[in-house]
């Protein structure tokens, strides 16, 4: 798994943001959002910085980080693929779509490929039940998904990344 580098500038930026949040009540959540944005993930080293600033124990912070799926402990890939496993999508067969994507990329849910290009997540309802089943790639929603359509979209990005695409 790729390790993140905590540069001095990024650390100072985070500390500055946390100190702003500290003025208001409930500073942990906004601090975590900033940390996720600045570093792309919130590993223990980053949690230690937040712990120092907010005087909240690392264990408590880690509990919150691992509770919300928005936060991650390890860096996510360049492309984040989410397959909705909400009720509507699930009954319409989104599990098969998820399995297809995991098989193609040779990773499990929540993991990132070795080349750090793709992360796969099982998401909750994305609010597009009318289009069920849906999956998302980098925030864009693809509706009425089938195993074939997901495979095709995925192939398109892989080709693009590996430079074998034809324009």
């Amino acid at each position: 798994m790729g390790k993140i580098v905590i540069t001095k500038e990024k650390e100072l930026l985070l500390r500055k943001k946390i100190r702003e949040h500290k003025q208001k009540s409930g500073p942990l959540m906004p601090s975590l959002h900033d940390a996720q944005e600045i570093f792309g993930c919130i590993p223990l080293e980053v949690q230690k910085i937040i712990s120092e600033e907010l005087k909240i124990s690392v264990s408590k912070i880690n509990g919150v980080v691992t509770f919300y799926s928005r936060f991650s402990l390890e860096p996510k890939g360049k492309h984040v693929i989410g397959v909705c496993l909400g009720t509507a999508c699930y009954v319409k067969g989104s599990q098969a779509v998820l399995d297809e994507i995991c098989n193609t990329l040779q990773i499990k849910v929540g993991e990132t490929t070795k080349d750090e290009l793709f992360s796969v997540e099982a998401t909750r309802c994305v609010g597009a039940c009318g289009l069920a089943p849906v999956f998302t790639i980098d925030g864009k929603v693809y509706g009425h998904a089938t195993v074939q359509s997901a495979a095709k979209e995925l192939r398109r990005i892989i080709d693009w990344e590996t430079g074998t695409h034809e324009n």
Binding site: L44, S59, I61
Partner: protein
């Protein structure tokens, strides 16, 4: 105080309006089951076992957090309540790893007690299609976390915060994946834990335990090549009896000696002796520092005591800048071990390689302390194995002894003699009081009568007192319970020259309430002042002892005459003193 009238199971009662239903039921002696509830510490209503039916409400309510109101009619044992409790217990059982016969909570597991009381069949847990949770183990020298037994009540999480203010344990992940551990299940030894063991005592089941060395000790005993020497800590005798049904605060010292002899220890000694030696070394160190200070030299005052390994772990991690202030004297356990291996071995003519020192401690941090690199001399450990009071009880049970019928015994070893000062080491203020008794005589030749320093006794979080030496008044302080340490440091920082001597103990109440002591059920904790009862046992030993000052212990005197010359001598420094160093939290990567 306003009161309200309520009915519980048709019993009319008048209770304060600030009460919860559970408080009212407790007062009226009406039993309501509970698992996650620890008065004042954990009131999270997570287990859903204390549910009751309230007339006029559709759903069952948890009695531990719902406040009473006027005219409330509560039913605690209707069929609906019983069925719900039973179902909830079934769900808890389904994910619990049952190995009760090897579990240290075999005799006082709160889950097992409830499963028995509600006659719960483990149909779900024994169904092979039931998917089990992922389990984690996190094992250090002192503490074992085994989430396969965890019921996610959160009592340890609350207790960790409440007693230490450090918040080492917390919930990780969510939903089905939730488990309790340090952040990210990082190695507990590295997570800043001080091993006070309050989590173990809060746990209703055996998910948290002291890492057991019972089998290692039994191996020592069965090996004829080894000469196995036991040493028991002051606080053990005040608590072990509880494991065999005696009231809290029963002194069972004589029975422990007899039990150890029957189990097969070759020699039995008492840490109280080493406590007396500690006072000689620590007292001398304090006097040296005061004199250096009076001469205007850098003396690192106030001096801090060093007996509590939980406290040592704390300062090494959270206030390393104050490490020079800590007395370099080893803790009594390590002093006894060093004396046995390097001096006593010659006295009894046994090569030190053949000696195994086993200590019985009220503490789990002692296991970690005995394993420290600083506590080895040329690879020879001062102490080879450390068992807690609970483990001692288990060993006595494993050997099939009828503890309560044992006749008292007094070991003959000179290392088992002690003064009243050594006995009170096990309670908060005890080390301070013992030190003052000796230091005062050493410095203030006229003062031969002061023995009781009652101002350092008792359960106030931080106790301060004046100490008059040669007409000059100094301030001393006693602090216990890790959560109070930051306040103590705040006072030191505010007024750096105010104090000369401070006693720190990691556990609230001192060793008598240590993490290795017998577990008091969550219901007894609400009504009984455990610390006070156990402390009383130690103060009684002290009061009944003819010799009550450490330096008057005849065997301590001859130890110095024959071997160590004087406190702080070269040999004493080599054997009885140690060093400390700054430690990183979550530092290993």
């Amino acid at each position: 105080m306003s009161t309200v009238k309520i009915w519980i199971d048709n019993q009319e009662m008048e209770v304060p309006s600030s009460y919860t239903i559970l408080d009212a039921a407790n007062d009226a002696d009406i039993y309501i089951p509970r698992l996650c509830f620890l008065k004042d510490i954990s009131e999270t209503s997570a287990c859903r076992l204390c549910v009751v039916e309230i007339e006029g409400l559709n759903t069952l309510k948890n009695s531990c957090t719902v406040k009473v109101w006027d005219g409330m009619k509560v039913h605690t044992h209707t069929k609906r309540v019983n069925d719900t409790v039973r179902n909830n217990l079934k769900l808890l059982a389904a994910n619990h790893h049952f190995e009760c016969w090897v579990c240290h909570r075999e005799d006082n597991c709160e889950l097992l007690e409830l499963l028995r009381r509600y006659n719960v069949p483990n149909t779900m847990g024994e169904n092979p299609t039931f998917s089990k949770k992922t389990h984690y183990r996190n094992i250090s020298k002192s503490l074992t976390i085994d989430t396969s037994k965890c019921v996610l009540c959160g009592r340890c999480v609350s207790a960790c915060n409440y007693y230490t203010g450090l918040g080492i344990l917390d919930f990780n992940q969510r939903g089905f994946d939730t488990y309790v551990a340090p952040a990210n299940n990082d190695f507990i030894d590295d997570a800043g834990c001080i091993y006070c063991g309050k989590c173990i005592q809060a746990c209703p089941v055996g998910a948290l335990s002291a890492t057991s060395d019972e089998d290692l000790v039994i191996d020592y005993l069965n090996n004829d090549d080894y000469y196995v020497i036991a040493q028991i800590a002051p606080a053990v005798r005040a608590a072990l009896g509880e494991e065999f049904g005696n009231p809290i605060g029963t002194n069972v010292e004589g029975k422990i000696y007899r039990a150890l002899k029957k189990i097969g220890f070759d020699d039995i000694t008492d840490v109280n002796f080493a406590a007396d030696v500690t006072i000689m070394e620590e007292g001398t160190e304090l006097i040296e520092r005061i004199q250096a200070h009076l001469q205007g030299k850098e003396a690192h005052l106030p001096m801090f005591t060093s007996c509590s390994p939980g406290w040592i772990r704390y300062i090494e991690r959270y206030y390393p800048e104050y490490l020079p202030n800590v007395s370099s004297t080893k803790s009594p356990q390590q002093i006894q071990g060093a004396l046995i291996k390097h001096i006593y071995a010659d006295m009894i003519n046994v090569p030190k390689e053949k000696i195994k020192v086993v200590s019985f401690m009220p503490c789990i941090a002692k296991k970690d302390e005995a394993d420290r690199e600083e506590m080895k001399d040329e690879g020879v450990r001062d102490v080879d194995a450390v068992l807690t009071t609970r483990e001692l009880a288990r060993i006595i049970k494993r050997f099939g002894l009828n503890f309560n019928n044992l006749k008292d015994y007094k070991p003959e070893s000179p290392l088992a003699t002690y003064t009243g000062a050594g006995a009170i080491f096990g309670t908060t203020g005890g080390v301070m009081e013992a030190a003052l008794r000796t230091v005062k005589v050493f410095l203030d030749k006229e003062d031969e009568h002061t023995i009781d320093f009652t101002e350092v006794r008792g359960k106030d979080a931080i106790k301060e007192a004046d100490l008059v030496l040669n007409g000059k008044t100094y301030k001393i302080a006693v602090v216990h319970g890790a959560k109070n340490f930051p306040e103590m440091f705040r006072r030191i920082k505010e007024n750096p020259n105010k104090y000369i001597f401070i006693e720190f103990m990691g556990c609230e109440g001192g060793c008598i309430n240590g993490g290795g002591q017998p577990i008091v059920s969550s219901r007894d904790r609400e009504t009984i002042d455990v610390c006070q009862l156990r402390a009383k046992a130690l103060y009684t030993i002290d009061a009944e002892n003819k010799i009550r000052r450490s330096h008057e212990n005849p065997n301590v005197v001859s130890l110095y005459q024959n071997y160590l010359e004087k406190p702080g001598s070269h040999l004493a420094h080599k054997l009885l003193h140690t060093t400390y160093s700054k430690k990183e939290v979550f530092g290993k990567k």
